[in-house]
């Protein structure tokens, strides 16, 4: 293993995060605060509790998931697309690094950034509502696995994007709607039966549900299904990346 190479990529990416620390942290803090104002106070005054949990507290796992998913994807996709855009990718391709090591460096950094932001959101949420974590290890398991999985997904976008617009299309048009419709701010039991069945087709629902279970022991679907879903997405991403790398990862032509 080229550990120095992995470390170089990791530190290089984290350095970018440090340079833009204010934007990186201010954005999720402000967004989270706005969600609490809009959903927690305005709408929350009409929905007092879901499954016995105060509405403000209920939406915290969903908000964290929303941020983790979008941040993991955008961090990893940008991190890999940027050297392609500036042509500095030549150095990574010419270095004695395996595809696994390249992915480990980029995805590790993207997932780390998401985890830091996730922790900041939990702290921010504590200023507005009581946040209880019944199963901290399970919470960390979901948090880390989701960060890695969606960083891998972002890495794929970074490999395939043909422009900066391409980096935004999937997160905006697919991920954000899936998160909003995946029970971030409500329980699917509140929906009509037809829409409940439709919601079950949304993979993000399982992530949010499992993650919420680790906080309050309430969920829309079973914990096992949630775990299997995230593992399936993770394996899918790994297989896809391995396949793409074997074909020259679209940048070696």
């Amino acid at each position: 293993m080229n550990w120095y190479g992995i470390k170089a990529i990791y530190i290089h990416e984290m350095e970018r995060f440090r340079r833009t620390l204010f934007q990186s942290l201010a954005s999720p803090i402000i967004t989270t605060s706005l969600y609490f104002v809009v959903f927690g106070s305005a709408i929350g005054s009409r929905i007092t509790e879901i499954d016995g949990i105060n509405y403000g507290s209920y939406i915290v796992p969903g908000m964290i998931m929303l941020t983790i998913l979008t941040q993991s994807i955008s961090n990893a996709s940008f991190a890999f697309y940027f050297p392609r855009f500036t042509n500095t990718i030549y150095e990574i391709l010419a270095a004695p690094l395996s595809s696994f090591e390249i992915v480990l460096g980029f995805v590790g950094a993207a997932a780390s950034k998401s985890l830091i932001i996730g922790c900041v959101i939990i702290l921010t949420a504590n200023f507005f509502v009581d946040v209880r974590i019944d199963h901290p290890l399970l919470m960390m398991f979901f948090l880390i696995l989701t960060s890695i999985t969606f960083a891998l997904f972002g890495f794929i976008i970074g490999m395939y994007a043909e422009g900066f617009e391409g980096l935004q299309i999937i997160p905006i048009l697919i991920i954000t709607p899936l998160v909003f419709l995946g029970g971030s701010f409500y329980s699917i039991n509140m929906l009509p039966e037809f829409w409940q069945k439709i919601s079950l087709l949304n993979p993000v629902l399982y992530l949010i549900s499992g993650f919420r279970y680790s906080f309050y022991e309430v969920s829309d679907v079973s914990l096992l299904t949630s775990t299997l879903t995230i593992l399936t997405i993770l394996i899918g991403c790994i297989i896809f990346i391995t396949y793409t790398f074997s074909k020259g990862y679209r940048i070696k032509d």
Binding site: G5, R19, N87, Y90, D253
Partner: protein, 314 residues
């Protein structure tokens, strides 16, 4: 001297079926400076990028230090460095971070003393904390060289190292290249500037349309294909070349005082002593004699023209 690089029957097609390299065979000796010459789109960069693992080639084998570059990519890449043609650098990073990052990528543990020495050698030390965007084009070129040397490679590829740099900096770069070679680094450079190849290289290859059309030692190449012109300035102007001189194909300049004869160094068709005797026999008094040898550039243009004509015929 042993071969540090062996390229056998390498062919490369791009996805749009454009043939970039066709059955390229080339051996590079350890410790030499080798120049790869060719017009735009000839395949110079594709060849270098194939060796360095930046593009995949379709068929053939490439070996560095007798090791296949695909099977033993870790070992072979560790001793290889590349300076790309474009100024591909991360603008918002400092020189110091950029160079250390490169060293890390190539699997070498941090060595701040070596990087300091390297930056000093390339006159970059006082710019180490500057962001790349604050540097001039020439300085950026030096940073690229520093990055390529950060892991102490044995084989260095310079893809158009002095493209769009001023004359003074070009000379500086040449000094850097010579120094690196003295330190034991084998250097392969592609260039448009024939004078660069003439100044630096031990051997030269000419590539055109993805094919290597010639490989030879620079001096031999100039000798083999080079033409020489002898210019004889006379004291008195003459109206016409006749007498003994008519057999030499002399041309007369506008002042009617300088007669010129071009001959091939390799052909032995011109006996200079006899020529000068004939000038004397015809009663001309010589004021001055000057000879000019064809440059590598003229040879290069001639070769490419011949090759293109051959391609058209086929």
């Amino acid at each position: 001297m042993k071969n540090i690089l062996e390229i056998n029957n390498v062919t490369k097609f791009y996805k749009n079926s454009v043939k970039a390299l066709e059955n390229v065979n080339l051996n590079i000796k350890e410790g030499e400076i080798f120049a790869l010459l060719g017009p735009n789109g000839a395949g110079k960069s594709t060849l270098i990028n194939s060796i360095c693992g930046i593009v995949n080639f379709n068929t053939g084998t490439i070996k560095i230090n007798n090791m296949d570059i695909i099977k033993n990519y870790r070992t072979t890449r560790k001793i290889t460095g590349i300076v790309p043609q474009e100024l591909n650098l991360e603008s918002f990073e400092t020189v110091w971070n950029n160079v250390n990052y490169s060293r890390g990528l190539f699997g070498k543990k941090p060595d701040h003393n070596y990087i300091e020495k390297l930056l000093k050698q390339l006159s970059l030390w006082d710019k180490k904390d500057n962001k790349i965007k604050e540097l001039s084009g020439g300085m950026k070129r030096r940073v690229l060289i520093a990055k390529a040397l950060s892991h102490q490679p044995k084989l260095l590829f310079l893809d158009e190292p002095t493209a769009s740099v001023d004359v003074e900096l070009r000379k500086d770069m040449w000094d850097v290249v010579k120094k690196l070679n003295e330190d034991g680094v084998t250097i392969i450079l592609t260039t448009h500037y024939i004078e660069e190849a003439e100044e630096l290289s031990d051997r030269v290859a000419v590539i055109n349309d993805g094919k290597i059309i010639l490989v030879d030692e620079k001096d031999k190449l100039i000798k083999k294909l080079g033409e020489k012109t002898i210019k004889i300035e006379l004291f008195e102007p003459i109206e016409k070349i006749n007498g003994n001189l008519s057999k030499y194909n002399f041309t007369l300049d506008q002042t009617n005082k300088i007669i010129s004869h071009t001959y091939n160094l390799n052909s032995n068709t011109t006996d200079i002593t006899e020529l000068l005797n004939d000038v004397k026999k015809d009663g001309y008094e010589i004021k001055d004699i000057n000879t000019e040898q064809s440059s590598l550039e003229e040879i290069f243009i001639k070769l490419i023209k011949e090759n293109n004509n051959e391609l058209v015929r086929n």
